[in-house]
């Protein structure tokens, strides 16, 4: 029976589970103003940045964690987390791959990301984030030629303070929610991308996250700015080693698109989901928001979420510009005791703004998954258009799938459509495939892949391959 197979795959070993033994310079657990000052100092930040962090920290102290999500987890002890961990010799950064710690390269090898090969063959610049500090940035010169800035956020604070000052926190305010306030106070790394007017970024930009060193939370801060007519495609992918302790991850991603700009942001997330009983696993509380400030600007979010014990993530678009476009494509797969509460917000402010949402959820085992979305049409968004489709596939009788779509429509010229379905893999579909000589497992794989097709085809090539492989690997686990 397919259900049993799926149960087996749910029980599969976490393939990316290993720990790289690199000495880290880690702060003892705890959070206070001194810790923030330490981080700021460590990063060589100017005074205004420290002030900015402290302001967020003081606001955070007065806030309470959100409880509205359809998630169940014990309260997080924020004083039990270490807020800084950096590989040794942060001042002495390697200038080329040859200088990179071979152990680190080995880690990438194990993950199947041969850095230099990938960079050379695929033409992808990799800003590899290994525990909070960018260790290596490649292809910087080539990007510089085109005028594109791609560096770690810490570097950007030092090198391009005016740009950072102008845009940081303008899409996701510090006090947007509990986790953004925390992130604003303690963020240690992340990427900064600036594509100037009229430039199409010559390559796809990519960051591989890797959470390492026990008990450290990662607080990424990513800021991408596309000036008038500029375009960029950004890939984010993550894997994490096997761990017993829950690891907190609270990232903030801000995208700014000016007139006619186009930002495509793709994510494959495969962090440790915890063991069968839900022990361990990453807690992922992420705030991602894109601001379509300019007319005819476009922001597209694509995500494939397979990991994490808890996912709390709503990549959103604020469609301010006239005729701006927001898109959200998502596949979320949960198994074991994973819990995902994810979706998107499309805020239509500009005239003629359009958005589409395609969300596919597959839940199995004892997992619970929710789609939570908001489509808001403001009174000035004349002729705004939204299409939403969220489908859930249930595998096994102990899992749950939920949808909580909010629609707030304040304009009679808007057209908003929402449809959702929840079902299981049809016995008739399986029978149809099997009667044509396709094994049950292949049939399940085919059906699941077909179910996700609409989203996969939105992924850039490299990620599409990876995502399909991820699903296939998932299904391979059920052999025997």
């Amino acid at each position: 029976m397919a259900t049993e197979e799926m149960e087996q795959l749910v029980r599969r070993e976490y393939k990316e589970g290993f720990v790289t033994d690199i000495e880290s310079e880690t702060l003892p657990p705890g959070l206070d103003e001194d810790v923030i000052a330490f981080i700021s100092n460590k990063k060589g930040e100017p005074e205004w940045m420290l002030e900015w962090r402290l302001k967020a920290y003081r606001a955070w102290l007065k806030m309470t964690p959100p409880s509205w999500a359809h998630l169940d987890f014990p309260p997080i002890d924020y004083q039990a987390i270490s807020y800084f961990s950096a590989p040794k010799r942060p001042e002495d950064r390697p200038q080329s791959l040859d200088e990179v710690d071979p152990k680190l390269l080995e880690t990438y090898e194990k993950l199947g990301i041969p850095l230099h090969e990938r960079a050379a063959l695929a033409g992808v610049a990799v800003d590899a984030v290994f525990d909070s500090v960018s260790v290596t940035t490649t292809f910087k010169e080539k990007l510089a030629e085109a005028g594109v800035i791609f560096c770690s956020i810490s570097e950007a604070v030092q090198e391009y303070p005016e740009l950072v000052k102008q845009y940081l926190g303008t899409v996701v305010p510090q006090t947007d929610n509990y986790f953004t306030a925390l992130n604003s106070a303690v963020f240690t790394d992340g990427s900064f991308v600036f594509v100037p007017k009229g430039v199409t970024c010559p390559m796809e930009l990519s960051t591989y996250f890797r959470i390492n060193a026990e008990n450290t939370g990662q607080f990424e801060r990513t800021l991408i700015i596309c000036e008038e007519g500029a375009q960029v495609s950004y890939l984010e992918g993550c894997t994490a080693p096997m761990r017993d302790e829950n690891q907190l991850h609270a990232a903030v991603v801000e995208l700014v698109a000016l007139d006619d700009a186009y930002i495509k942001y793709s994510t494959v997330q495969n962090w440790y989901p915890g063991d069968e009983d839900g022990k361990g696993g990453i807690y992922n509380f992420v705030t991602k928001r894109g601001d379509c400030r300019g007319d005819r600007s476009r922001i597209s979010w694509t995500q494939v979420e397979t990991g994490s014990a808890i996912t709390w993530k709503y990549p959103s678009c604020v469609l301010r510009g006239k005729d701006s476009i927001g898109e959200f494509y998502s596949v979320a797969v949960t198994g074991g005791r994973q819990q995902a509460d994810t979706g998107t917000k499309m805020i239509h402010i500009g005239e003629g703004s359009r958005s589409s949402i395609i969300s596919k959820g597959i839940s199995s085992g004892r997992s619970n998954q929710s789609y939570r979305g908001l489509v808001k049409i403001g009174p000035r968004a004349k002729g705004a258009r939204n299409f939403t489709e969220c489908d859930s596939l249930l595998i096994g009788d102990q899992c749950g799938a939920h949808t909580f779509p909010y629609q707030e429509i304040g304009n009679s010229t808007a057209t908003v459509e929402h449809e959702a379905t929840t079902s299981k893999i049809g016995d008739d579909q399986l029978f149809y495939c099997q009667s044509r000589g396709i094994s049950e497992e292949d049939a399940v794989s085919m059906i699941v892949n077909g179910f996700c097709k609409d989203v996969f085809q939105e992924l850039p090539m490299e990620f599409a391959v990876e995502a399909e492989a991820l699903l296939r690997v998932t299904l391979e686990g059920s052999v025997g």
Binding site: C399, N411, S412, T415, E419, S423
Partner: protein, 449 residues
């Protein structure tokens, strides 16, 4: 405790004085309701269930309790639905025997005002009353329980089929000062019984009263009940209602929630599908104009395998009106072979009208077929153009298309008097006033061509 809460509790204390000698269980339940209301206070927009509905218009009001049920028979006659039916009439919550009609009630049917049913045999009422809608449900259900005194009790013996509809008529008076009423309705439909229940809220122009109704409906095995709620209260009336339905095996509950009147309207409709093959059908239509606020919440709880729910709600909003739709389907663990369908379509006729829709699914079983669809839009310019190209003026074209939009729900309405009433209201309330008869003629003429 806020002033608002205190004001309502003071009213309660005044009312309590003349309630000596009532059965202890009622006193205890009232007490629990009052305590719960005191603890909760009025909901605010920070409560998820009230996110889009601001009840300050109710909370800040000072409502007395009506003292009598005087109502001019002539004006009552114009308000009463022209349906041959058994009828209980309440004026501002107080039972009016003269405006009621219970002659020829068939055997096996018991239809009584709550006060009479309590006086006759309070123990028979005490069991089911409050079992479905507890004081925990909402501050309004708690308030209703604290004040409960009058309402209707309908009991159908097993196998009873009632041919004529049963109407509960609630009249709202334009009195010197606004009043409030907290009607309590209890329906117990025995096995294989069948009936049509009409809950009709209507009143004198200019009335600005607050009605807070709680209905509990129990359908036993194979019972069938069609429940029309026609809410055409005066435009300044405040109306809150929760209807809680419990369904045993093979039962069928069909609801028509038709909201046309009221300044602030909130309805909660909940069905508990507790037995296999039980079916809930929810049809709804809300029409808002001026600054009306209409909020419809529905919930289908699939507690047993092989249960079915269908929902079709249509909203038409004009001027600065505000509509809220929240439909939820919950499938409990192990409730397999469920089918739940939900559809909500909204039509915005004005730029300042607003709709907030939230169709939810919460599913804990895998062998289910659940879908929901939700759309919001405006009249199709191409369709208007197509009609205009055939010589129909713009206003009539808009009217025809609006009626057609409502048609899907109205077609299912089995009582012509109600369907006509809604059609007239929807057509007559359009900003471009035109007569329905003319419309129908046009439509017929079009069909003939």
């Amino acid at each position: 405790m806020s002033e608002d809460t205190q004001r309502f509790l003071d009213r309660l204390a005044e009312a309590r004085a003349d309630r000596a000698g009532e059965p202890t269980w009622i006193a205890a339940r009232r007490q629990a309701g009052a305590a719960r209301f005191e603890a909760m206070g009025f909901p605010t927009r920070r409560d998820e269930a009230w996110k889009y509905t601001d009840v300050r218009a109710i909370a800040r009001g000072d409502f007395a309790l009506a003292a009598d049920a005087d109502f001019s028979p002539a004006s009552a006659a114009t308000l009463t639905l022209p349906i041959d039916a058994y009828r209980l009439t309440f004026v501002d919550g107080i039972f009016s025997a003269s405006l009621s009609q219970l002659d020829g009630l068939p055997e096996g049917v018991s239809l009584q005002p709550l006060s009479v049913a309590l006086a006759e045999n309070h123990e028979a009422v005490g069991g089911p009353l409050g079992r479905l809608t507890g004081v925990e449900f909402s501050p309004f259900s708690a308030l209703n329980t604290a004040f409960m005194e009058e309402g209707a009790v309908l009991r159908l013996a097993p196998g009873t089929v009632v041919e004529k509809p049963i109407i509960l008529q609630f009249l709202s008076r334009n009195g010197e000062a606004p009043v409030m009423s907290h009607p309590r309705v209890l329906v117990q439909a025995g096995g294989r019984s069948e009936a049509t229940l009409v809950e009709h809220h209507v009143g004198e122009e200019g009335a600005a009263n607050f009605t807070n109704l709680v209905a509990e409906v129990i359908l036993e095995r194979n019972a069938m009940l069609t429940h029309y709620k026609l809410q055409e209260a005066p435009l300044a009336d405040l109306h809150v209602a929760s209807i809680h339905v419990e369904q045993a095996r093979d039962s069928r509950y069909t609801s028509f929630n038709l909201n046309l009147g009221g300044a602030l309207v909130r309805t909660d409709l909940i069905s508990e599908l507790n037995g296999e093959n039980a079916t809930s059908d929810f049809y709804g239509l809300f029409y808002g104009e001026g600054r009306q606020h209409v909020d419809s919440h529905t919930l289908a709880n699939h507690n047993a395998p092989r249960t079915f729910s269908n929902e079709n709600y249509k909203g038409i909003l004009d001027d600065r009106s505000h509509g809220v739709f929240n439909g939820k389907v919950v499938v409990k663990p192990d409730s397999q072979k469920i089918e739940g369908f939900q559809s909500n379509a909204n039509l915005l006729l004005s730029d300042r009208a607003e709709i907030d829709a939230k169709p939810e699914l919460e599913i804990y079983a895998d062998d289910v077929k659940c879908t929901h669809g939700c759309t919001t839009g405006q009249l199709d310019e191409e369709a208007i153009y197509a009609l205009r190209a055939r010589g129909i003026d713009r206003q009539t074209a808009r009217g025809l298309l609006t009626l057609a939009f409502a048609g899907e729900v109205l077609e299912a309405v089995g009582l012509d008097a109600i369907a006509e009433r809604v059609e007239l209201a929807v057509a007559g309330k359009l900003p471009e006033r035109f007569n329905l008869a003319g419309l129908v003629e046009t439509a017929v003429a079009l069909g003939d061509e």
